[in-house]
């Protein structure tokens, strides 16, 4: 696999637009995504063979179910996450904050991690067993990192 990657990337001479493997891979992927998005947004319905005959009435019915998180909550969390990401990058470029960079970035990163896990992965609303499982895995990771880095003499900075 690595040898194949080497062969693909080691063509001699300056690489033109269509010789760049990144574009060769990226353009079809992006084009496929754009095509899919256009199909999804277009009024024309793609009709696949329907194994179960669904009546048009059933298709149109939108259900209001109590107990589910409203989409507006997810959008709010998404906006906050985008803001925190922008803040992270801004902090990276502010020279005056470099002394506290490690603490600030780790705090912001932990905040983002927690928000995604609590709201998007529903740990805030779901059974505590899932929280214990996930937190257990995370605790093992933190312990592993602490022991390995402390023993072998490396650190975050």
């Amino acid at each position: 696999m690595l040898a194949l990657l080497d062969v693909l990337l080691s063509a001699p001479g300056p690489k033109g637009f269509f010789q760049n493997p990144a574009y060769l891979l990226g353009i079809p992927l992006v084009a496929l995504g754009v095509l899919g998005a256009l199909l999804a947004l277009s009024p024309v319905e793609l009709r696949w063979p329907q194994p179960v005959a669904a009546t048009p009435a059933e298709e149109e019915v939108e259900i209001i179910v109590e107990g589910y998180v409203p989409a507006s909550t997810y959008l709010t969390v998404g906006l906050i996450l985008a803001g925190i990401t922008a803040l992270e990058v801004a902090v990276y470029y502010i020279g005056a904050l470099h002394g506290a960079l490690l603490g600030i970035l780790l705090t912001l990163s932990t905040l983002k991690f927690a928000m995604v896990a609590l709201w998007f992965m529903h740990l805030r609303y779901d059974s505590r067993i899932f929280t214990i499982l996930f937190a257990g895995g995370m605790a093992l990771v933190v312990a592993l990192l602490a022991v390995v880095l402390a023993t072998l003499g490396s650190s975050l900075v």
Binding site: L25, G36, T85, V89, S109
Partner: protein
């Protein structure tokens, strides 16, 4: 047209009261924590120990100044794209929980598109690094960086395939409000891939040795 309906009971007919598939997914994600924890730990362990260029950031080595290969603005956009894909994924789940199948299909495709955009960005970044002389066997930084981010990219690729499969299933009418757990499970996997990138972006790209 809207129709009111009571919420489905969360308790599954199992000894734990939890759906076994969901329990298994969380167990899988817990094991994945350790998998990526090991890779991130290896990266940190060997950070700043490369004995030759290229280096991740601007470095003076043996009296020679070397430009770093990291492009923080570009990677920030990639991180933002993946973060927004988590938003669209959770909106897909919210749509099917309201039995809005058209919105489900739209958000699934949107998520897959954002995932593919992230992958395209990663392919571009890898190519740029290669052209700067960084390969998996050029130095310790190259080895640990490509293994870590490569495995993450592989996880995103699997996620995109899952999303596209779900889109086809949804288009065939096989995903409804009653079996929305399929979307929830795929969402859990996708959000996990996102939180892993949150950690990688901060620890690998933003926090640099002084």
């Amino acid at each position: 047209m809207e129709q009111a309906r009571t919420a489905p009971h969360a308790l599954a007919p199992t000894s734990t009261g939890l759906d076994n598939r969901k329990l298994l997914m969380w167990l899988f994600l817990a094991s994945e924590c350790l998998f990526f924890g090991g890779l991130i730990g290896t990266y940190l362990l060997y950070r700043n120990r490369s004995v030759g260029p290229p280096f991740p950031t601007n470095t003076v080595y043996n009296g020679v100044h070397y430009h770093g290969v990291f492009d923080i603005p570009f990677t920030s956009i990639s991180a933002f794209v993946l973060l927004m894909s988590s938003v669209s994924m959770v909106l897909a789940l919210a749509a099917i929980q309201r039995n809005n199948r058209r919105a489900l299909r739209m958000w699934l495709l949107c998520t897959a598109f954002l995932g593919m955009t992230f992958l395209a960005g990663q392919a571009f970044e890898f190519t740029e690094f290669y052209r700067a002389g960084l390969t998996v066997h050029s130095n310790l930084f190259g080895t640990t960086f490509f293994v870590l981010t490569g495995f993450h990219g592989a996880h995103v690729s699997v996620g995109v395939l899952i999303l596209l499969s779900l889109y086809v299933m949804a288009s065939r009418g096989k995903i409804t409000h009653e079996n929305s757990l399929n979307i929830e499970l795929a969402g859990l996997y996708w959000h996990f891939v996102d939180v892993v990138w949150i950690v990688i972006f901060t620890v690998v790209y933003l926090i640099q040795p002084t």
